[in-house]
Symmetry: D2
Subunit: 121 residues, 4 copies
Amino acid sequence: MNQPRQPDTLDVLRDALRGFAAERDWEQFHTPKNLAMALSGEAGEVIEHFQWLTAEQSADLAPEVRDAVALELADVLLYLVRLADVLDVDLVAAAQRKLLINAERYPVDRARGRSDKYDRL
Amino acid sequence: MNQPRQPDTLDVLRDALRGFAAERDWEQFHTPKNLAMALSGEAGEVIEHFQWLTAEQSADLAPEVRDAVALELADVLLYLVRLADVLDVDLVAAAQRKLLINAERYPVDRARGRSDKYDRL
Amino acid sequence: MNQPRQPDTLDVLRDALRGFAAERDWEQFHTPKNLAMALSGEAGEVIEHFQWLTAEQSADLAPEVRDAVALELADVLLYLVRLADVLDVDLVAAAQRKLLINAERYPVDRARGRSDKYDRL
Amino acid sequence: MNQPRQPDTLDVLRDALRGFAAERDWEQFHTPKNLAMALSGEAGEVIEHFQWLTAEQSADLAPEVRDAVALELADVLLYLVRLADVLDVDLVAAAQRKLLINAERYPVDRARGRSDKYDRL
């Protein structure tokens, strides 16, 4: 007998967000253009937590700051999943494809210890 | 008999990105501050695909544009997962927490058909 | 007899921001990297005002919203001027140079009525 | 006898951008919403130049990088001036107003040497 396959968290989030928007009649606002803006706005809120911190401070956040950042990252994820959904983009497949592209662009021997963009390696 | 539990896609991505960074000795660049910048830069690239489109055009992308956007969304996801990892933030738990907060902030009866922020409902 | 030349507004802002930072011992925080983050964060706040609006609504803001947006645009300008200053970049000269580049990239006869990027005209 | 007043650089840029858009029949694309997106996209390009640099490296750019950054800052300025124009916002007046607000929010004696936001001083 087969166990039911564990649903993937990104699928669960996608479905939750679909329901959330449908219940509130928000599909009218959830155009790809608007969601791309919302995504960017949330990324801006992440930035604001880190802008005056040194690299070291950014890696050693006070618990309440880390918690606030976690909720900003959640906002980015939620808009990202929703945007991918309305565009009918498979986010995980795209991420896996991009990982392969990156592996080719940044060969270990040439990219090691360097932060240069691939076209300058 | 237990089937092995299906690994979650976000965990798989997190582990892949850890390995990718470790192999290239890139942990030195992957401070939260730097990754927050990279995340924001990628969100900016998503924006650039949509900035001159009408809402309608944004929902009806040519296949090659949709494909390019998919890879930009992938970049956002990859940096988001990596940033959460170096901050030791559980992205899915944070997203679920944020969904609950949003459900409280945007009650169906008051939020229906309105795009106002919760503090103006 | 010569009248004193009217000082340029961008120079006045630059000097005011220099003084503001010096008085508060904020030069230590005003690295180009940090100011680039602050600039991006403020651009994100501009975005948030517009994300759920239609194009038409965005061109017909309520006075109190327009006023709030004006202060966000001010924030972008202040960080932009400050960032250019610490980088020793002449913002106006750069803008004039970019206008010339754009005039060449977007010839009137080919760009008219089209929002395509120059490499697709 | 009055000398003609020196035109202000921001007014000159505003007029140049108006003409540039009019000649190309681009006013249709230059809604506040779209220009806010373009502004944010350009701020994202500024970020990308700095994301992997240390604070020290960001203050000591190679000449060709500084030059590329100057053109990105120019893009931000051009979209900012254009956005303010279509919103009929006086950018300089808004900046001066914001400077006064900031002076009140960040009194020298309390803000000295601290990067905290005003509501935490």
